[in-house]
Amino acid sequence: METARLELSEVRKHFGSTKALDGASLMVQPGEVHALIGENGAGKSTLMKILSGACSRDAGEIKLDGEDLRLTNPLQARDQGISMIYQELNLAPDLSVAENVLLGMEPKRFGWLNRKEMQDRASAALEELGAQAIDPQTTVRRLTIAQQQLVEIARALVSDPRVVIMDEPTSSLTQADTERLFAVIRRLRDRGVSVIYISHFLEECQAVCDGYTVLRDGKSVGSGESMSQTSLDEIVHLMVGREVSDIYAVPPHAMGDSVLQVVEVSGLDKPRKVSLELHTGEIFGLAGLVGAGRTETLRSIFGLDPMTGGSVERAGKRLPGSRPHERLREGLGLLSENRKEEGLLLNRHVADNLTLSDLKPLTRYGWIRESAQRAAAEHWIDELGVKTSGPDQEMGKLSGGNQQKVAIARLLHHGSDVLLLDEPTRGIDVASKQQIYRLMGRLAAEGKAVLFVSSYLPELLGVCDTIGVMRRGELVAVKPAADWTEHAIMLAATGADESVA
């Protein structure tokens, strides 16, 4: 048998008293796309950070093409042919595409930048990805998220890698862009590059991956040669150690009176005259392509983006003021799609993050009662099953999915009765997704209204009562969820339905 491209055995790593990895093993063949699967906090990102030199290991062996690998920093890994694409994009937004692609390995002549060669190499890498459309000279800030991701991949490619690691690459992509990414991955595979692919979308893994490894609590609990031949139930069982069925089954809830009327709300560019009505006990889904203005709609309603026209009303009366603190006072709450940049205080502890928007009830004579704050935090940590060492763990040390749970818990702690959730399940594992859907159902049953933005149509169709589709800043169609199909939503979102009609 030929030697494996990559072999990790019995890797261990602890952070303080947390065992992040407790004997993780992984084997990847040349030209294999390998899925790395596991719950939030299972240790996937940690394992990949160790492999890419961003983090040290306590014990365990790593062999690359049969040779022992000792890494102390990411540059070394890159020289060895291991490239990592992080869970969140890591680009310098004000530099050009070419500069980003070759960051840290700029071609030089007599110590000066060789611009010509830089352009050429960047466009060659982009071309290989089938992304000729991206001009190497534009600044990255002006690209869409999907395009930015292609730039990241191009960056991984220029160093001629043997292994490319993708940590949740599709969590901010639409389905069409995901398809494009898959094409890129297959192209890499055909060139003999090994790809390690981390995702909580198991269907995606099935579509694009060959072998798989499942991590649970830092241990490898199962692996197989063929992801597509294995049933998802089996994999989920390995992941969480129990059956997870009916993930979209939400508690019954009934729609009642109208609680919030959004009347012809317009923003600077998007949204454009969006009107919608939320009722008690309603889960209202907003679908659309990336850039359709769903996020902007939520932000305008909540007062984070300026509203240039229209109004947000309750029982026919305009809500007073227009800024976030006034919206919060009126019972609205927003979950940002961007937890790292906007959603959380990464250097503060979990308890602060959880209670920040509503500290008043936890005070006596204006002083925060830390015991009360802890208790409140513990309650929500328990309720949502956040994996953390406790309320005073630093936020940045939680795994991606667990950070997201804390961001959601903050809204619950605040007790908002109109919840604006922007991609709430981003980066969250199956079992936790199910938990969040149930939570949304339960909140609806309590008479709250949920406005739910998602790019993942199955979940919208699965849990929403009503679905609206946005296109270029406008809300083009609103119907009960039962009257929609995935196909119909896509047609409405792209505008294809109108050109036919």
Partner: protein, 334 residues
């Protein structure tokens, strides 16, 4: 389990003693030198504390500003302005309590202007307070007619302002002048405010991520106004202390004081990128600076040596801090 509780206790202990370590190191250095018999006497410590007052008060305001992610370069000029205004008030026969109020309010006013410009026009704090540094200094000189404002000719040495920081016993540690007690009291209040009040939490939130703060309904612009205005009050009060110490209003005094204050805050463990820092740390930072200065004077080192030493200490303190948080630096969390 046992080990865990032990670890947590150790952590709590460490949090309390850690800021003091730097101070112990500096004191230890002088303790083994030939000046220890002078340095470690009650009367020297009395003097030390008196000399720390101005920097310590300034550092209270500055710590808050720096934690919120800002900076205030106008501190030194505002101290000078406040002391000149105080001296002028005395000359005009303004009653003592009102003199105090004037000094403090002058500081508050400049702070409020800083805050209004930073919050209202969204100009970066560095620029606004750099401007205010020049403006306050200029106004101080203008009011003072480009000379020191001397009221002793009119009132002799006995004006009550003098008593705020006057040392009465040169042989013992006690009694400490009221200004020292007031500073200690305010330090305790500020420690509590920053650690345990909603306002304090909001300041930290603002410094660690302004967008999150906004998202969580914190009125970001108002808070900034308040932070700079309160910091200004502290600088104003520091000006009053300066006035009491010098016994005259000097518009050209306290040049570069803002840097000393910032140094104290940074030595105390605050990060200039905001979101971290502590009042206790800054107070100790202020003490370290004063001990270094006094110690150098006792050793007969010249001014330029002192300056070099303080510079080295600042860099060293920041390095130590980096080292302690190195985990934080290495990590690129997802």
């Amino acid at each position: 389990m046992n080990k865990l509780t032990q670890m947590m206790q150790w952590k709590a202990v460490r949090q309390v003693i850690e800021p003091f370590i730097g101070l112990f190191v500096v004191l230890g250095f002088f303790a083994v030198s030939d000046v220890s018999h002078i340095l470690f006497t009650g009367s020297t410590w009395n003097l030390l504390l008196v000399q720390t007052v101005v920097v310590a008060l300034g550092a209270m305001g500055m710590t808050m500003v720096i934690i919120s992610g800002g900076i205030d370069l106008s501190a030194g000029s505002v101290v000078a302005l406040s002391s000149v205004v105080g001296a002028k008030c005395i000359l005009l026969g303004v009653p003592f309590p009102l003199v105090i109020l004037c000094c403090v309010l002058v500081g508050g006013l400049t702070g409020a202007i800083n805050g209004a410009l930073i919050a209202g026009l969204r100009i970066v704090p560095f620029i606004v307070t750099l401007g205010m540094m020049g403006i306050a200094r200029g106004v101080a000189k203008w009011i003072a007619n480009n000379q020191t404002v001397n009221y002793t000719a009119k009132y002799g040495n006995e004006h009550p302002v003098r008593s705020i920081l006057e040392r009465t016993d040169f042989r013992h540690f006690f009694p400490l002048p009221p200004g020292v007690w007031l500073t200690a009291f305010l330090a305790i209040v500020m420690i509590l405010v920053m650690r345990r009040s909603v306002f304090g939490r909001h300041v930290f939130a603002l410094g660690s991520n302004e967008d999150t703060a906004r998202l969580c309904g914190i009125r970001v612009q108002w808070k900034k106004m308040a932070i700079y205005a309160i910091a200004g009050l502290f600088f104003g009060l520091a000006g009053l202390m300066q006035l009491s110490r010098l016994n005259l209003g000097d518009p050209t005094a306290s040049v570069g004081l803002e840097l000393e204050i910032i140094a104290a805050v940074v030595i105390g463990g605050a990060s200039l990128s905001g979101g971290s820092g502590s009042i206790l740390g800054s107070m100790i930072g202020a003490l370290i600076i004063v001990v270094l200065k006094l110690g150098s004077t006792l050793k007969g080192w010249e001014n330029h040596i002192q300056e070099i030493i303080i510079g080295v200490v600042i860099i060293f303190a920041v390095c130590v801090d980096r080292f302690r948080h190195s985990g934080l630096l290495k990590r690129s969390r997802d």
